[in-house]
């Protein structure tokens, strides 16, 4: 989220699209309801009528996957009717930038496409530059190559009629949606978007969100109270785990993973440190070398960063087609991996194409599965179509402590890093994850020290004891290391710091190893003043109280800034556009309110400090699948063509040749969407084992329309009821005697849910068209 949960109350129009917030983020509705009490409109755009729709002023039931038709139509509506916030668009977005004359878009494909690699050469999408290396701009925004004009041209095709045809919404519904939301395009109004997996889990996921980000930039809704682009993240620490980059392409703090051609830290830094010649562009990423050196130092405290850079593995490419989730399982299926850690995750259930994933796991030599409860991943070898006698995989299941049994922090969707204390002792026989990691790696280090092996230095020189006290994992010590400290006496910005002192904020990080910081974004979270994440002070100034800002409660990255890009909420003199709900304000000598995006005086730096040129990107020349969102159908779809171009699917989407896709396939005439309910969570490993929740939602189920033609409905119903009937007699996760209660003590209905999930819909590959009539049966 660029904003945060309590900020939703400041909104004048809340669009929930690609999310079922009332069911999946129930407490968000505390703040949605507060906004509604103050007159805000709530719009829910979703294929299904849900508990969210039940509270909305308007529910628009679009066809699954047609989001860009609807959002592109909104962009066109805003541009055609000149409903954008002109001053904001001019000052804070790249609308006036001139794009290369070579840039082209033809029949659904942008210039530079290579069908062999299914990738773009993006060079023609670049901006025209002045001789001094600053992007060329046309302040009148009339030049045919300027971004605003290119957008007008690109979205010419996104008419109400086309949006209606692809989404199934009526033109009246679209007009109501567009006019209600676009009404926030004034300085004193704010509109917000709450989205989740309903947008991300598409072959155009990034562009779904970009389309809305563009809408927010056009309407001046970014950086303001009650606005922003707000991803409702699904797990208690999926924000933190992403910040710490448990992903192939990034290192903690969103630094890039090193590539094979970057043979030194200097070469690596050079590739990823953007250069701007505009003195008014803060170009914050110009500090990249300080963050990379401090990260490397934090892992190998006894080495200098240039040496320890070699300890980091390097990738051949940053392409998702080589290392990302889908490819990972594809390669596992082909025997690429000997071992797999499935730590706090249940991929046998959670990943797309679960059947393929489970079969792939049978190719592993070993699997380490850390979880609270038995689950489909650790037990994959007794799943459907599996014969344990032919499966070689050794499985180690390690039971871990639950959240209330250990100490540490999690970061919520609003980027608040919040400390949790230990309540009960871990259950007998279980261990906190941190202790398991510490002890396991200690053992591996011991083996390498004793026996040697392949390139042992990264392992043996790892300063692993920096995360423990007296041989026990210490969350405080790790949190301090993540924040970072000075590794020797150092003077920065005229201040002298002693060795061992905590770094006060990332502005003090150095690129020479004199500072360490496990994650520059979290630098300022655990300083000499203490553990900021543990703060419980609700003190606010009246200005902060007005918009529900809690600067002294927990801590928020970056540097406790609660609303990102907040310099865009004020004019060039630092005066807020929204007089009734200012986020920051220049009082003549200093900024008041939130922590501003940099303390420079108003009008001296461009507002979007993380962008190289300092502007919000209506035109995004760095995206893999195009600089402007374009309509494509999902890879499996019920239509042969669409009115926007002759390009049916996203030409850059990852695809596996051997996987068949159903496009207008009469055998699969229906589109089915999967979803969660309030009472169960993710694959249900935790919630399926909680009797109070199983009581409320005891089984998996399918909703379908009463209005389906009876033959189709009965066929579908028959197959589904077969699933339901087959479930109770299917396999159940086995447990050794004495390790856990015997099945007889378990609530039987929990088992049936668990079993029903074995036979998941993905494996059956049923596709159900969304109901025309959403009434439940």
């Amino acid at each position: 989220m660029t904003n945060h949960w309590t900020d939703i109350k400041n909104s004048d129009c809340i669009l929930i699209m690609g999310s079922n917030a009332a069911e999946n983020h129930p407490i968000s509705f505390k703040w949605v309801t507060k906004a509604q009490e103050q007159g805000a409109k709530l719009i829910h755009v979703d294929p299904r009528f849900t508990r969210t729709s039940a509270k909305a002023d308007m529910w628009a039931g679009l066809r699954s996957g047609s989001d860009i038709a609807v959002l592109g139509g909104l962009i066109k509506y805003i541009l055609d009717n000149e409903l954008y916030f002109e001053e904001y668009v001019q000052n804070y977005t790249n609308a006036s930038f001139l794009v290369n004359e070579d840039y082209a878009f033809d029949n659904g494909v942008f210039a530079g496409y290579d069908p062999k690699t299914r990738t773009y050469d993006k060079s023609s999408w670049a901006f025209q530059m002045e001789e001094n290396g600053v992007p060329k701009q046309d302040p009148t925004m009339q030049d045919p190559n300027c971004v605003l004009q290119l957008m007008k041209k690109h979205y010419e095709r996104y008419s109400l009629e086309n949006a209606s045809r692809m989404s199934g919404l009526s033109i009246d519904e679209l007009k109501e949606l567009y006019s209600t939301y676009a009404a926030t395009g004034t300085g004193d109004k704010a509109g917000t978007i709450m989205y989740a997996m309903g947008w991300t889990q598409h072959t155009v996921g990034v562009q779904n969100i970009r389309a809305m980000a563009m809408v927010q930039l056009l309407l001046g809704n970014i950086g303001v109270a009650g606005g922003g682009v707000n991803a409702l993240r699904g797990e208690s620490n999926v924000q933190g785990s992403t910040d710490h980059c448990l992903l192939y392409h990034i290192l903690p703090g969103y630094l890039k993973t090193p590539k094979s051609w970057q043979d030194s830290l200097a070469a690596y830094d050079k590739d990823y440190t953007p250069v701007s010649n505009d003195p008014e562009s803060a170009n914050w990423w110009s500090n990249y070398p300080k963050y990379s050196a401090s990260l490397i130092k934090s892992m190998w405290l006894n080495d200098d960063p240039a040496t320890a850079y070699n300890y980091l593995p390097r990738l051949d490419t940053g392409a998702a087609s080589e290392y990302a989730w889908l490819t990972l399982f594809d390669k596992m299926g082909k025997g690429k991996f000997q071992g797999l850690f499935a730590w706090g995750m249940n991929p046998a259930c959670s990943g797309a194409n679960a059947g393929k994933n489970r079969e792939a796991m049978a190719n592993l030599d070993w699997l380490v599965n850390v979880n609270i409860f038995p689950n489909e991943t650790g037990w994959f070898w007794e799943g459907p179509d599996m014969n344990p006698e032919t499966i070689k995989t050794e499985v180690f299941f390690l039971p871990c402590a639950v959240s209330i049994e250990k100490e540490g922090s999690v970061t919520n969707s609003g980027r608040w890093m919040q400390w949790r204390y230990k309540g009960p002792e871990p259950k007998k026989g279980t261990m906190p994850d941190g202790d398991i990691m510490y002890e396991l790696m200690k053992e591996i280090q011991h083996l390498y020290e004793k026996e040697g092996g392949a390139y042992p230095e990264p392992v043996t020189r790892l300063t692993w004891d920096a995360i423990a006290t007296d041989g026990v994992f210490d969350a405080h010590k790790v949190a301090k290391l993540i924040n970072g400290f000075f590794t020797k006496d150092t003077m920065v910005k005229g201040k002298t710091f002693k060795k061992g002192q905590q770094v006060p904020s990332f502005a003090y990080l150095q690129d020479d190893g004199s500072t360490c910081s496990g994650n520059w974004l979290y630098c300022n979270s655990y300083t000499d003043k203490g553990n900021m994440a543990a703060r419980r002070d609700t003190t606010q100034t009246p200005m902060q109280a007005n918009i529900g800002l809690f600067p002294n409660w927990s801590w928020c990255w970056p540097v406790n800034r609660r609303v990102l890009y907040n310099r865009a909420s004020v004019d060039l003199k630092g005066q807020p556009y929204a007089k009734n709900k200012p986020v920051i304000k220049w009082d003549g000598t200093k900024w008041v309110g939130d922590v501003p995006d940099g303390g420079w005086k108003p009008g001296t730096k461009h507002a979007f400090i993380m962008r190289k040129h300092g502007y919000g990107q209506l035109f995004g020349p760095g995206r893999a699948d195009g600089p402007l969102p374009e309509y494509y159908e999902p890879l499996e779809c019920p239509v042969k063509e669409h009115p926007y171009s002759g390009q049916l699917h996203n030409p850059t989407a990852i695809a596996f040749a051997e996987e068949q896709k159903a496009v207008c396939d009469p055998r699969y005439p229906l589109v089915c969407s999967t979803y969660r309910v309030t009472e169960h969570w993710q694959t249900g490993v935790m919630t399926r084992n909680i009797p109070w929740l199983v009581e409320t939602e005891p089984q998996v189920f399918c909703e379908m329309s009463r209005n389906w033609p009876s033959s189709r409905a009965s066929t579908t119903a028959t197959r589904l009821s077969w699933t339901a009937c087959a479930a109770p007699s299917g396999p159940s996760p086995s447990l050794p005697q004495g390790s856990s209660p015997s099945p007889s003590t378990a609530t039987p209905s929990i088992r049936s849910v668990c079993l029903a999930l074995w036979l998941d819909v993905a494996q059956e590959r049923r596709r159900l068209r969304q109901p025309a009539d959403p009434v439940r049966r």
Binding site: P313, W325, A342, G344, F373, I404, W416, L440, T696
Partner: protein, 191 residues
């Protein structure tokens, strides 16, 4: 009134003494039981935590029995600015996540081609895993790629997880994996 207040309270307190600290196995008595006693500092310690489910980040208060070291009550933290004490069905059920007899009480091992898990010790499990990791790393470690560029990576081990870990554990986990040379690292944020 047919029962005077003093007698009612006495009855309730007796019931509380029997039930408040018994965990899941306690005999429930819906009517007229004083459970508030269990929140008193002489019986329980109070700690704050954040909900382990979605990323709204609601605050909770956990009361843990001083005697059994087990949770006796978990409810919303009224001081927390995001949820102000409120919780959804999942958050309200966290007590049963901890006090749950379905949690295995130690590591389990499934041997190749076996139809079952057997219970093993932590020491044995971690030593065995360390040996597997080292063997796989040593066998699949690539110093150079096909183009002869230095890559220093372990190609034969992958990792999935986890958004369910604390920040400090996430950082430690990525540090452990990357020092081992892993490049196939993904988690819930991708799916």
């Amino acid at each position: 009134m047919t029962v005077n207040r003093r007698r009612f309270l006495k009855l309730s307190a007796t019931a509380a003494a029997m039930t408040a600290f018994g965990g899941l196995g306690c005999q429930h008595t819906a009517p007229a039981v004083d459970r508030a006693t269990m929140l008193k500092p002489e019986w329980t310690k109070q700690t704050t935590t954040i909900c382990c489910y979605c990323a709204v980040g609601c605050g909770l208060i956990v009361n843990t029995s001083l005697k059994t070291k087990k949770a006796v009550n978990v409810e919303g933290d009224p001081d927390h600015p995001v949820n102000e004490g409120s919780l959804c069905a999942k958050g309200a059920s966290i007590y049963q996540l901890a006090e749950n007899e379905r949690r295995p009480e130690g590591p389990l091992y499934r041997a190749p081609f076996s139809k079952e898990f057997k219970q093993v010790s932590w020491k044995w499990a971690l030593e065995q895993i360390a040996h597997r990791v080292k063997k796989s790393r040593d066998e699949t470690f690539a110093v150079k790629n096909d183009k002869g560029q230095t890559v220093n990576r372990t190609e034969g081990i992958a990792s999935l997880g986890s958004a369910a870990l604390d920040n400090e554990e996430c950082w430690a986990f990525q540090t452990m994996l990357r020092s081992l040379g892993l490049v196939y690292i993904e988690h819930q944020a991708r799916i």
